[in-house]
Symmetry: C2
Subunit: 297 residues, 2 copies
């Protein structure tokens, strides 16, 4: 099996050259563009482009064609981080060890930088659709998964549930929208772009695998929150629990959360087997499942 | 000549039914959706949908088809107002006599409501493009005019020029992007949607008329700022001048600004004549030029 780190590096190289040129040269002096680039190139792991890259490989579609959509997806993810970090939202001063966008550029520019990246993402994909109208469905699904029925909807539930405990069903909905939607977009976009080549059965398997991956991603995140505190503070209460935040760990218990993670990872492999049985080469996608199960922070 | 107020009412009726149903029924309880609807239905004059409506009439294209794009345009305009009003930007407590979105719902929800409307706008247009791929160019132009090369770019210049005086050339660029871009989108979208029916010469005339209209709109706004203060405060310094803001009035003087307005309105009529000469019925578009020249606040 291929090493996940070399796959991550490959996908990073692929998308980062495109992201570095996200804006035209003559805009480089614009303060909002500088704020966008600061956050866009702040060293994320590029999980969403990685999924897009490996999904394209698995489906055998052109990664050159998928690249603008993968870049747009990373722009959308980055805009959401910039806005989430604002004092009125999560009020974070640091992200990946660097000052957050509003700490570095001020709140006004940070709001505008987020807007700028979201607009630029849609400019990028609509430009591709104007070039090749068969990508229209992909653009539509991306807009749906990033909006109120997807990521924004999840952020809304999150803001409305602040300092409240929520039911496990509501937590599943929150996760499915807030973090799950863009991960689903990452897996599904290569399918939507070339959907006439594929069957509805394949769409279903991809959708299921992206759901299970997204859920695994979040449960693992919640477990890591607890474990990192046990390790560094020597006590078994994580930041989430102290913040009275409902997570898979606080609602299911640590053992319950580990069970749910294990169950979802097994489901990922089941759906991957189904895709293999349809004749697709899943060998490069497989390592990402183990990565999602065991990923360090 | 038709009465502008009946045209405004007609265009309002046209777009507002669509805006009232901007979100699915099952989302009506979501707090972010409520904030979106609060701002979206706050009683704007719907200038951009009006231009879209009258441009469609002039070009003889289906207003039913144009409607989703006009609604998306108004969503984009509304998101920009919500974010502009935030404390980190213009810090306005009131808009059209009502508390601004963040005053009513809090800053976090207001940031998210803006994001939600922008996403929804693109979901709306990409949905239309998926239905009819010939609208791809229109979606692309809308994204371009609302982003860093359009409205967002203008907001960026505006933020970067706070408490600074800027050159008249820079002010033209700011206006062209910040307020001009969406007004241009309003006039041009019906053209782009059905561009195969039209000539490049028509595009040029429409582009020129939208530039002149946009500039007139802003100059008139700057003149009204001064005049309203002369009227209500009895002194001839407007809010803009007291804020040390560069406007067409502060940079050209009140007489220079009136001259520039008059010149641009004359240009509007010239380009409208050119469009009439191409065989289009401009009779319903004409009143909007007089409205832009004399519009009250």
């Amino acid at each position: 099996m291929e090493d996940i780190n070399s796959l991550i590096n490959e996908a990073c190289d692929w998308v980062e050259e495109r992201l570095e040129n996200a804006f035209d040269e003559e805009l480089k002096d614009d303060i909002t563009v500088q704020a966008c680039m600061y956050s866009l190139m702040a060293g994320g792991k590029r999980i969403r482009p990685l999924l897009c890259y490996l999904s394209s490989d698995m489906l055998g579609v052109s990664k050159d064609e998928v690249l603008p959509f993968a870049a747009a997806l990373e722009m959308i993810h980055t805009y959401s981080l910039i806005h989430d970090d604002l004092p009125a939202m999560d009020n974070d001063d640091l992200r990946r060890g660097k000052p957050t966008c509003h700490k570095r550029f001020g709140e006004g520019i940070a709001v505008l930088a987020g807007d700028c990246l979201l607009n630029r993402a849609f400019e990028t994909v609509t430009c591709e659709v104007a070039r090749n109208p068969s990508y229209a469905r992909a653009a539509k699904e991306l807009a749906s998964l990033s909006g109120i029925n997807g990521m924004v909807g999840g952020q809304s539930i999150d803001l409305a549930s602040e300092n409240k405990s929520i039911s496990i069903d509501r937590l599943y909905e929150l996760q499915r929208k807030k973090t799950g939607a863009l991960l689903k977009a990452a897996v599904m976009l290569p399918y939507y772009m070339f959907e006439t080549r594929f069957s509805d059965e394949l769409a279903l398997e991809l959708s299921e695998i992206s759901n299970c991956l997204g859920l695994s991603f979040q449960i693992k995140d919640d477990i890591l929150d607890l474990e990192s505190d046990v390790k560094t503070l020597g006590k078994s209460t994580g930041k989430d629990e102290r913040d009275h935040k409902s997570t898979f760990v606080t609602l299911l218990g640590i053992e319950g959360a580990r069970e749910e993670l294990k169950h979802n990872i097994e489901l990922c492999y089941t759906h991957l087997d189904n895709i293999r049985d349809m004749g697709y080469d899943v060998s490069r996608f497989e390592p990402v499942i183990a990565f999602f199960a065991g990923r360090d922070h």
